[in-house]
Symmetry: D3
Subunit: 241 residues, 6 copies
């Protein structure tokens, strides 16, 4: 049996909270905490669509996500993207993943002519920043949508389902749920799973960096993820109630 | 029953070939063709490691992959990365995926002090450019390694297994193998699977852009992918014999 | 007599607080609030000096400050610096000002071989973000220094004095203290004053954008600033006690 | 009593001249010399306003200033901005200061639909390049405006006053006027003052890099600056007569 | 008498071929081979003109050329332009030369409202990549034009003549034709000559890097070039027949 | 017979002068005037060689040239390179040409370990800015070399010859010398010729943008250029005497 750094069971989530109102100028915002991982998630509305939609004449609205590690979120200070002159590959992948995950549960037609911006800025990084970002972004976006509906800017709720995400991995040959940083660093396989509140997959990314994994490993990781996401969906529901 | 644009069965690959020697100045090179998708894959060796390895004092060697769509590879001319001033997110994701996939079957210690560069330039794009790139890159890299071993630059073969990749998707609610461009464009779910010649997973990415998928969809896509990769591994083996 | 939007007296500060621990991975951090203006101020230590110091053989240590408006800090979402590709002129000016202000009360020799990084990220902007940043940065840096002294990384406290900053302006021909955003937007003259806890000037910047001001205006603005900074210095002292 | 490198009195300006016609293709141009500091100041008109004015629907015209140190203006050759890839912080601050200073004495409404470009390129740098730039830019701009009025492009003179600038500093505990490079390098406090011909302040920036200053220091520096600017305004008037 | 690395006569071309269809998604494409130098030349049509033509109201169409060395085309791997962040000077010169050379034999009025894009990507570099590019680009462009005329997109052939290019040089004091890489590296003088099929000059660039040349050297190089271009024009004609 | 805008004979140069001392901080500097074309040419010495020489272990010294059009040098203000973010192709070509031209008459071994920087900034552009730059740069560089020899920094004069440049063109079917802007704009063929004081070619670039030229045209342009360069070499000699 495996002993985790914080004494959790293999299938146990860290304490998860979504604290509303961290950024009052945003239409919706939460501080999403998965254990020591803390992410500012904010949703704002821009009353125009991206250039490529206008150029191509695409109808409906859009959702764009941006993600950054604040310089003091990591144990060694991380240089800002602007100091390095460009986004690193990891950041690009994460913000594309956040965007796809939220669009999968959005009816973009109901955002006609508008862009919903999702910003995720990591205040403290301890593993699972992308899954905390997706799970928190849904709460912030839902809050923003309610505000726009009250203000009459949007007529119907464009969300068709809720969405949440969790990491799973193979650590010392055991499948574990919700990896913290030191587990993530040593895991042979790392998977991120995004699912809806109704139990359908949105995205599944499973990677063995300098390692490989068997079909059985995959099956057990997926089962764990499903359990974790069901719990997160419940927390989201309570916060939004 | 589904009718595919090129009359293939749902579980049938396009004609796949790897033609060696397309770029004679590279240590290993092939033109990888998956139907009309044609990718130049080349492997070259640089006798130093990336700066981050030197700075952090990491031992062993490295493999870096780069990917580009040549401007005339798409139906509408695609502007070069340098004209746009930066890599787009899709390109960054693909070149990171190619790199991880090859490193998963490489013992980097046996490349001590060296970087193996993998370049994948798409000559014609008709769906599946990333899977053709990974499958062709393995062949080019293996050829290059043989050349370095003959020349005494490398003592032992660093490859621990072969690697290949294929796309699968849900198209008109049917799982299909090796999507061409018009299938890819319309598929509700798109997955890319990377596996070794011995049948272990390296990477699994399954995405429902503006859609979701069930556990059953996932299972049937994985089964198809496994069938396809077994066939590609066989073709790789014959080319390298 | 002037009526301010929040009913303050002309010489009255907004409620000012410095909440410690907002970013636990930083050596020192506070959430600095000047009314609705909220800035994350964090101090981290890097055990090397900037390249220019090494190249020129300059002795001692250094302090570098960076500043950003988080995208959701303003009423209309502000694009990230990295999306625009470069820092705007205002950001460059502010981060240079924060750096100079803190270095003025630091004995850099006592930071030999090290760089103290100051990061100021604005969570909510309502006027005075640069003065909140300087005032909060001092508290965060002082906390960080204490931690390094306890850990034995630094032998003596390099701070020679405390430092704080406040804005003053001419608004409807009256000098006022600590301008909020709507006052700042309409003020004919805008000044930022940085002073030490012992009452010496560190920096004085007074600007009449599309306007000019008399020597009398200047004198009354300086007097107001002095009063405000004395109060802020007291709050800093209590937080650090 | 202080002895200055060029034997000037503490309150004495260097020889100041503005030689017209250095760049004949510009509408107005002067070579502004403050002792050995020599700056090419040129004014040109563009018959459109910046994008942000068009987008925001702002009425009137605009004035934009750009500043550079030519590579051979300093004792050690300075790399061009384009070689470094971006403007350094000092350059950004100076060109913003030049722009604000000239706009403070311009009625922008009278430049309706036009942008007046001010270019300041330093041919030789020996301290005070920003104050020579502002003082010379006013002369060049005024010459250009006269030309446009003669040509009927502008109906009324948009200038409401003249503007000039000078540096002052605390050097060996004495306030001195118009610092040359070796004084500037060693001064504990450095201030730049911009005033109109009628004696009103436009901008006051006083900085103690790694030092602080007292209210008395500030008062004596301001008095010196006022004396210097009065003299420069007289020289400007004679050149323009 | 001179002995060339590949035993050619001083006035002898390398084997020259133009293989059509290398990039099937382009309107016209050839693999141009001058000995071991191999260049992918592709022509595509964009149904708009460059921004500067629209802004300035210039009539007619345009032709733009781009050139790159693929990373594996050289003996040591060459970093991609996008990795270096900008085009190097040599690349800029070559793509400008290719563009001017083709525009010299094009009646741009007959391309009204369209841009013909020429892309030249070097697969293997062994000297003379720019001359192979120009000569191959003409063939690819002519093929594309025929396709557009058949499709009715263009009414009349805009080409007024054919165009081809060759290098000549002074090597061991002897004028030689069509330099391969090791000759080019050691030649005292290097000239590139672009001529039409009817024997008129389009461009002549003769450079003595760290060397000079006499009028007699120039005359004999021009005579050789003329001989070579006549032969290449014949090959082009046969391929296009 | 042709009538030129300034009534010159077809084979007549504009008034040409080189005024020393325009940039006193440079080791050598002249204002080079070819009629209304005025270029600041400055030479400075850096006591290190470019990175590529150090990396490749190349012996000797180097000469690097940079060129810019100052924004007010053209009739319509030209945006600075840094505002556009990159050098345009024309600038890259010109600065490479200036560098090659001067290196052709330099024995780089005698600059061991040093880089001679040549900066050419155009104050007024009226055709022939590159030929004025080369001709003036030689004078500035020669002055700088003398200064370094007097100071003992360089032992022997590295110059092996002088160098000058002139433009020629076909204008209304007549070959003309030293084109001013309006001739240059309308000329069918434009050639730039660089020659040494002893009558050898350094560089010959002849271009027919959207036009072609005959061998006879080329011969008559070369003869004219030779005449012009002989005259410029004489002027250079007198200035340096």
């Amino acid at each position: 049996m495996i002993i985790r750094p914080d004494n959790r069971e293999a299938d146990e989530l860290r304490p998860i909270t979504f604290q509303p109102g961290i950024a009052p100028h945003a239409a919706g915002s939460v501080l999403a905490c998965f254990g020591n991982t803390r992410v500012i998630c904010a949703a704002t509305l821009e009353e125009k669509v991206p250039t490529w939609m206008r150029v191509q004449g695409v109808k409906g609205g859009w959702l764009t996500a941006e993600y950054s590690l604040l310089p003091y979120s990591t144990l060694d200070r991380k240089a800002r993207d602007i100091s390095r002159g460009k986004l690193d590959g990891r950041t690009v992948e994460i913000q594309r993943l956040i965007g796809r995950s939220l669009r999968a549960v959005l009816n973009l037609e109901k955002l006609e002519g508008m862009t919903l911006w999702i910003d995720c800025d990591v205040l403290q990084a301890d593993g699972g920043t992308r899954t905390a970002s997706i799970s928190g972004a849904y709460v912030a976006a839902k809050m923003a949508i309610r505000k726009f509906m009250e203000a009459g800017k949007i007529k119907e709720d464009p969300f068709t389902d809720s969405v949440a995400a969790i990491s799973v991995g193979m650590y010392q040959e055991t499948p574990i749920l919700d990896l913290c940083y030191i587990e993530d660093k040593d895991a042979a396989v790392d998977a991120n799973v995004v699912m809806t509140g109704t139990g359908r997959f949105v995205e599944l990314q499973s990677t063995g960096e300098e390692a490989t994994f068997s079909p059985e490993d995959l099956a057990s990781m997926i089962a764990l993820a499903k359990k974790g996401i069901t719990e997160i969906s419940g927390i989201q529901k309570r916060v939004l109630a």
